[in-house]
């Protein structure tokens, strides 16, 4: 391996990326994704339009109505209408939820009283979330002594803040998509324009070319690790409880994985547009689905559980969530194992890219 070849390409690549203004996109896009998704995805549900039909008119039923009214989660209207009319309102999207308190609710309380709760299930995720709120409110909401006491507390994200759950997960998405597309583009551009002949016809080794093409996206996006970290901790106020060194090192390895994917994409494509589309498609879908943002991987079905473990994003996100919210670091043997798996990924992808890249016209 000769440094002069790598130096030649690096200098050219940096001048090129700066003069063709690509540098702006390199730093704009990750931040944009973080801000758009960070603010855009909401897991909590607020202002559920709720109709309560109180047929009991007791002290207890009034207390229930009060509890519902005093949270941001429900917008309560107490109406004196029939069950049928209420159902009609639910069907015509005039309400999201109906709570019916039966006439003898407080009297029957210890014999087994019932409350009717009807939720609009057209968005299942929202319905389940609302259901959870209702249950929690009814069980913990007031001083009824039940035979069983449920004690629950959310660890690691005590305040149940959305940002804490979503923002760290976006790192896995951003650092999979963006370096891969950049790496693919800077190689395929040479093919598309014709400058690839400089590589074909000169006595340059494939490994030299690949290294020269890995370094620019790797270095540029290394800076993004710090930028995104600052956005996460200052803009979104996500706590950081772990070891910064582990966070940084894992992210660097992960960027190498992404660049490796980009190199493989550049081998099968010959235009910049195709390279961009392909690298985005093969990274966005796993990056999002298996990031753990929408659903923890441990609770996935068999197939998706296996799929999730094929893509590196789940390993990376495990470590990132840990460094942000938990802070176990390498004391957890699972984190160590996942870190090693990431290193293997990076090595295999880049080795494969170097091996498969052609130094000749197809």
């Amino acid at each position: 391996m000769r440094l002069n070849v790598i130096k030649a390409y690096l200098k050219k690549e940096f001048i090129d990326l700066i003069r063709n203004k690509m540098i702006i996109l390199i730093y704009l896009i990750p931040t944009m994704i973080l801000i758009l998704f960070g603010y855009g995805i909401k897991l909590e549900v607020t202002h559920t339009r709720t109709i309560i039909i109180d047929n009991d008119h007791s002290k207890l039923s009034l207390e229930i109505i009060n509890k519902f009214s005093h949270t941001k989660y429900f917008d309560v209207k107490v109406e004196n209408i029939s069950y049928k009319e209420a159902l009609h309102k639910l069907q015509t999207n005039k309400a999201d939820m109906i709570v019916i308190i039966p006439p003898s609710f407080s009297k029957d309380l210890y014999k087994g009283a019932q409350i009717g709760v009807f939720i609009d299930g057209s968005f299942p995720l929202r319905a389940v979330t609302i259901e959870g709120y209702v249950e929690k409110l009814l069980i913990h909401g007031f001083n009824i002594k039940l035979p069983i006491k449920i004690e629950n507390r959310n660890f690691f994200n005590e305040a149940m803040r959305d940002y804490n759950a979503i923002v760290p997960g976006l790192f896995g998405l951003i650092f999979l998509v963006v370096p891969a597309s950049l790496a693919a583009i800077i190689i395929v551009k040479e093919k598309e324009v014709g400058t690839i002949f400089n590589f074909y016809s000169a006595p340059i080794k494939k490994i030299e070319f690949v290294i020269a093409k890995i370094i620019p996206p790797f270095l540029f996006h290394s800076l993004n690790i710090f930028i995104l970290f600052l956005w996460a901790t200052y803009l979104f106020d996500v706590p950081f409880r772990g070891n910064f060194f582990i966070f940084w090192l894992t992210s660097e390895i992960y960027i190498l994985i992404s660049v490796g994917i980009g190199i493989l994409v550049s081998i099968v494509t010959s235009t910049q547009v195709a390279a961009l589309v392909l690298s985005v498609i093969i990274t966005v879908i796993p990056g999002f689905l298996y990031s753990g943002i929408l659903m923890p991987i441990s609770s996935m079905d068999k197939e998706s559980y296996i799929e999730a473990h094929i893509f590196p994003v789940s390993y990376y996100n495990h470590i990132i969530y840990d460094t942000f919210l938990i802070g176990q670091g390498f004391k957890s043997s699972l984190n160590v194992l996942y870190f090693i798996i990431l290193c293997i990924y990076a090595f295999v992808l880049i080795a494969l890219g170097t091996l498969l890249i052609k130094k000749a016209i197809k």
Partner: protein
């Protein structure tokens, strides 16, 4: 001393054979020229020798034999390849000086101030070292690519169509550089589409349809066909006529003539049993004014850059007008203004006696104008027949008319057998003829053709010109055509020469020949260009 020996070299892409069984040797300080049309196999041969494509057979460079790009790695520091395309290997956002840095580091060379200065001065780029490659003209880009290829002081220089699309002045300068380096012991393989450059080569190989059809010095090649060459042009299905000469295997009662290199391709076609297509264009009278197109002081600006600067142009009834000029001289821009594809910045335009001001004015005349664009605007996923049907529908022809017209033109232009093929499966010459048919479907009275013959093989070009002349003579169609081949200017009635957006010549071809006696048109063109520095 022999430095290169090529044995049974073949290159194929998938099932398609690009070149079959090439054999030749190259001596030290020798320039071997590859001549042939697009797709004849020149590039593939050069790529194989440069070790950038897989091939069958063997190449021996100074005693080292290689059979694959991988084995060729060892000799790549002695070989430089300049691939086809204007400055293809340049990075638009790098300056001339930065290109030198890049290529020097890439090859691991020490900075040789003296040599680099000499190269820059040879190419006339010494003053432009800070200019970005993207802002250089086509000729300058090509010269820069050439001196970059010379930077590692190669023993073997491989140039793939270095002069295509380059203006005549830059072309001459490119040759000067190559010759100067040759004096210092360099050999070169150079391909070209211009027959006129044959004289710059020591020996030639002529390529046609994936085969080498002839080898030798230009003199030897011409010698071989002199028995078949006659003066003048005749109508016959046994002989080819082109550029004031007729090539025939059977003896003719005509005076013998000194053949040109182009003749080798005709004789080869005849020997392969190919016959010229006979084109019959029925006589027809059309009613049009005497002046078809009249442009007064047309100007087009792109920002600071003036593409056409106050150009006057007149196209008369039944006339073939050739629009000549180097790349970037403003030919295509002018045609596009005449067609209304670009808005006119300044000047007046009259088509068929009518002042054209707005889009509506054009709509009325649309049915009178036919246009064939550079590279032919064909749909590659439709067969030739489907393409023609599509164009017919655009001009709202009835299905019956469409069927008749397709039948008529495919017979007339001789592409009947290809109707159900896709454009990329057929030779460029066929595409060219059926593009012309597509432009004629709605029976226009005037045709605009933008470089219809670039890259097309000689035989097909001769057929195309014959066709154009018949269209002019029998149907009275006026034709405005741009071309890079100076020999084709002879077929025009009148030529207009543009240089950097300014008209420098507008005269009948025969007048020009009288003015510059004894010169062929390429030489006349060069002279005119130099006179108007």
């Amino acid at each position: 001393m022999e430095i290169l020996k090529v044995k049974n070299l073949s290159v194929s892409y998938g099932k398609k054979i690009a070149i079959k069984n090439v054999n030749f040797t190259l001596k030290e300080k020798e320039i071997l020229g590859f001549i042939g049309a697009d797709g004849a196999g020149k590039s593939s041969t050069l790529h194989a020798i440069a070790g950038v494509v897989s091939f069958k057979g063997e190449v021996v460079y100074k005693g080292y034999a290689y059979h694959s790009p991988k084995e060729a790695e060892k000799i790549k520091n002695e070989i430089s390849l300049m691939p086809q395309g204007l400055g293809l290997v340049l990075y638009d956002f790098l300056s001339v000086g930065e290109h030198f840095d890049f290529f020097r580091d890439l090859r691991g060379l020490k900075k040789d101030e003296e040599y680099e200065t000499r190269l820059l001065k040879m190419a006339g780029l010494y003053e432009f070292q800070d200019r970005l490659a993207g802002n250089l003209s086509g000729g300058m880009r090509q010269k820069l690519s050439l001196i970059l290829a010379l930077l590692p002081r190669p023993k073997l220089l491989i140039l793939d169509e270095p002069t295509t699309g380059v203006d005549p002045i830059s072309r001459a300068e490119l040759w000067d550089i190559v010759n100067e380096m040759r004096e210092e012991g360099m050999s070169a393989l150079i391909s070209t589409a211009y027959m006129s450059e044959a004289s710059k080569m020591d020996r030639l190989m002529l390529f046609d349809e994936g085969e080498v059809i002839a080898k030798g010095t230009a003199q030897e090649l011409i010698e071989k066909i002199k028995d078949y060459t006659y003066e003048g042009e005749i109508e016959s299905n046994e002989c080819f006529s082109f550029n004031k000469r007729t090539y025939c295997l059977n003896p003719l009662p005509l005076k013998k003539a000194i053949p040109t290199l182009e003749g080798v391709f005709f004789v080869n076609a005849l020997k392969k049993g190919k016959k010229p297509i006979l084109i019959e264009v029925p006589k027809k009278n059309i009613d049009v004014p005497e002046i078809i197109v009249k442009a007064k002081c047309l100007t087009k600006k792109f920002g600071e850059f003036i593409a056409d600067n106050c150009v006057d142009l007149e196209l008369k009834k039944g006339e073939i007008l050739g629009l000549l000029g180097a790349n970037g001289a403003g030919k295509t821009t002018l045609i596009k203004m005449l067609l209304g594809l670009y808005p006119i910045d300044e000047g007046e335009l009259y088509l068929l006696g009518k002042r054209i001001k707005s889009y509506e004015d054009r709509i009325e005349l649309k049915s009178k104008i036919g246009y064939v664009s550079q590279k032919f605007a064909l749909y590659k996923d439709l067969t030739i027949k489907e393409n023609l049907e599509y164009f017919a529908k655009m001009h709202s022809l009835t299905p019956k008319e469409t069927k008749e017209k397709i039948e008529k033109y495919s017979k007339m232009f001789g592409f009947e057998e290809y109707l159900n093929s896709f454009p990329k499966e057929v030779p460029l010459g066929i595409n060219q003829r059926f593009s012309l048919a597509a432009a004629l479907l709605h029976e226009p009275v005037v045709l605009f053709l933008d470089e219809p013959t670039s890259g097309v093989d000689t035989v097909a070009r001769s057929a195309f010109w014959k066709l154009l002349r018949k269209l002019k003579e029998n149907m009275g169609i006026s034709i405005l055509i741009t071309t890079h081949y100076m020999s084709e200017a002879e077929y025009c009635d009148r030529v207009v020469v543009l240089k950097r957006g300014v008209k420098i010549v507008d005269d009948e071809v025969k007048n020009l020949h009288q003015k510059y006696p004894g010169l062929d048109f390429e030489e006349i063109f060069l002279k005119i260009y130099k006179e108007n520095q």
